[in-house]
Point group: C2
Chain length 232, copies 2
């Protein structure tokens, strides 16, 4: 690994292979639920992906995030029961074939993954002195989400899978982990080595949803003005 | 560049250099305001970073984002005036030396950067059928934030700088760009080649805020349980 000083060396262009690494992480990242292996994640590898998360952009350089690393089996069991209840309630919103499909999906690896990471946002943290937060108050939470995505991509480069579980009662998770009331739970992540990274997202492979064409989400200068010959 | 099929090839471990590329993008990414160059961003490069954004994780595979690419000078001028008003109002919240420092900071490259990209979230998009959004309804917006971070890191690998401007009235930006009322403005980004990437964040270099120690934001198993000998 490079030292932090080398990493911060600045403006040098990326080599072809370094650039390929960035795109590989982006395209081969998966939301992992089923493929976790029990093998432990070494502390130094975990520290690298958390340091990557800590170097996310943040509004006003506020760094509003915290990371609760959960290896304790009892805590993960409690959070898994929280997930089961939330998922059962969510299932009631679907009918027929879609309900059957929903119930057949594996939606969380909370217990199988050896490490879980809860990412939070402390909106009352004084760092940054409020810079950039007057017109869009939610941007502090967005900073914590950027930290999640840094962690996820660094994890892929380390051959670690990550799964984001949003089917949870966040206040219950906070109670389980002793997170103060004023702190917002942003993301609950399962982290571990995997048997494989899928060629496509689970939900695409299982027929829950298809990937849209990028052309359908790009507008030129004004909403609705489509690029007829957008490069592919 | 690899084809998308090669990119999706799956589980192969990263080479040392590919992995270095991922960490370089994370550590050398900057929130760029002052260093934009006027040289245009080719369509194929812009398309690559937008495709990277489009491959962000999304709750239920919802893909709730849109990207409005703004090159039009009049639109950028209008948005710059919006920024000036919002920044003047924000300045009133500071006093004395902090006010002077705030007013001396360059906080947006809206006009200097040749391209701006507005990233949105459409919470009413039916894709994903609501999966994962019952207990934490904000996760659709978080998906759009993950798209921002993918774009930002891919941009760094392409030697492109990105600056996120949150000092804007979002409803006014939406009116300027014709974005429907029901769609949420998530991020307003300035994109372009740069004279240099700073060795540290602008706000750190200018003395607005310091970087916290990662150890201060990592908790083990329970909030407040600190790692005494966390790897550095």
């Amino acid at each position: 690994m490079m030292s932090k000083e080398q990493q911060a060396a600045g403006s040098r262009a990326f080599t072809e292979e370094e650039r390929r690494g960035v795109y590989r992480a982006i395209y081969e990242r998966r939301d992992v639920r089923s493929q976790f292996l029990p093998q432990p994640v070494p502390d130094d590898v975990l520290a690298r992906i958390l340091e990557a998360a800590h170097h996310a952009p943040s509004v006003g350089f506020m760094q509003p995030w915290d990371f609760v690393v959960i290896r304790d089996a009892a805590a993960r069991q409690a959070i898994y029961r929280n997930f089961e209840r939330a998922s059962r309630r969510a299932a009631e919103g679907y009918e027929g074939e879609q309900r059957k499909l929903y119930e057949s999906l594996k939606l969380a690896g909370i217990v199988e993954a050896p490490v879980n990471v809860c990412v939070t946002c402390d909106s009352e943290r004084p760092k940054g002195s409020g810079l950039g937060r007057k017109t869009q108050p939610m941007v502090d939470v967005y900073s914590s989400v950027c930290a999640v995505q840094n962690l996820w991509l660094a994890a892929r480069a380390e051959s670690l899978g990550v799964g984001w579980v949003s089917i949870l009662d966040p206040e219950e998770v906070k109670a389980t982990l002793g997170i103060p009331e004023a702190v917002t739970l942003v993301a609950y992540l399962c982290v571990g080595y995997v048997s494989e990274f899928g060629r496509q997202p689970d939900l695409e492979e299982r027929g829950w949803e298809t990937r849209s064409d990028v052309q359908s989400v790009v507008h030129l200068d004004r909403w609705g003005a489509r690029a007829q010959d957008w490069p592919r």
